[in-house]
């Protein structure tokens, strides 16, 4: 079975540009979460979506947005990129709806803003 897949794996963007990161959850999983991991730090929660509805949002500016599609895949969008947005962006999926389910992570998208 395929795990959580993220695309692209690496990305280089210029300050001020826009970026879209994509995540496909494990088949049967309805919940997708996004995390930002800056070099040398632990992941920071950005968003969680369950059944296409936003269920949680971390302390990130409005330049960050996300959505979940009917097939439960998800996109993370970041507008007006800053140098500080350079990070590893991790997507995690879980069954959702039941609070103690395990989160399965993808291998992440490494975003570099120059």
């Amino acid at each position: 079975d395929a795990g959580v897949t993220q695309s692209p794996t690496h990305l280089i963007k210029t300050r001020g540009q826009h970026v879209t990161l994509r995540c496909s959850p494990i088949s049967g999983h309805k919940s997708v979460s996004w995390y930002q991991q800056v070099l040398g730090q632990g992941p920071q929660f950005i968003f969680q979506y369950y059944e296409k509805e936003e269920r949680g949002r971390g302390n990130f500016p409005d330049r960050f947005s996300a959505r979940q599609f009917p097939n439960y895949s998800s996109e993370l969008n970041v507008n007006a990129l800053l140098l500080g947005d350079s990070a590893l962006y991790l997507c995690a999926s879980s069954q959702g709806g039941v609070a103690n389910t395990e989160a399965f992570f993808g291998q992440g998208t490494r975003l570099t803003v120059v």
């Binding site: 919940s31 979460s33 995390y35 040398g40 730090q41 632990g42 992941p43 920071q44 929660f45 969680q48 369950y50 059944e51 509805e53 269920r55 949680g56 971390g58 590893l88 991790l90 995690a92 879980s94 959702g96 709806g97 609070a99 103690n100 389910t101 395990e102 989160a103 399965f104 992570f105 993808g106 291998q107 992440g108 490494r110």
Partner: protein, 116 residues
């Protein structure tokens, strides 16, 4: 808001030895989950072990076990018979379960190196 603290940025141990990674957390919640995740150079986060706060018995998974001290808000990970493949970043994480919202709060991590 919950916080998770890992006070050991780096650790190293000889292969086959035992190593303990420390984690403390702060919360006013009574019902929650604690996790240890491993992140090897491949970048993918892998769940090592999970502990439910309402369970007094410490969780174990093969060579991995935890020492959960709820009153002290401490959650350490013990790795026995360490192997070269255990070399990775280890993150402690907290989750307050809510329906449809399983936000994880991570610590800053401990870089563990197993020396041959």
């Amino acid at each position: 808001a919950q916080t998770v603290t890992q006070s050991q940025p780096e650790m190293s141990v000889q292969e086959a030895e035992t190593v303990t990674l420390s984690c403390t957390y702060d919360t006013s919640e009574n019902n929650y989950y604690l996790f240890w995740y491993k992140q090897p150079p491949s970048r993918q986060m892998i769940l090592v072990i999970r502990q439910e706060a309402y369970k007094q018995q410490n969780a174990t998974e093969n060579r991995f076990s935890v020492n959960f001290q709820k009153a002290a808000k401490s959650f350490s990970l013990k790795i026995s018979d360490s192997q070269l493949g255990d070399t990775a970043m280890y993150f402690c994480a907290f989750m307050k379960p809510r329906f449809g919202n399983e936000k994880l709060t991570f610590g800053t991590g401990t870089r563990l190196t197993i020396i041959p």
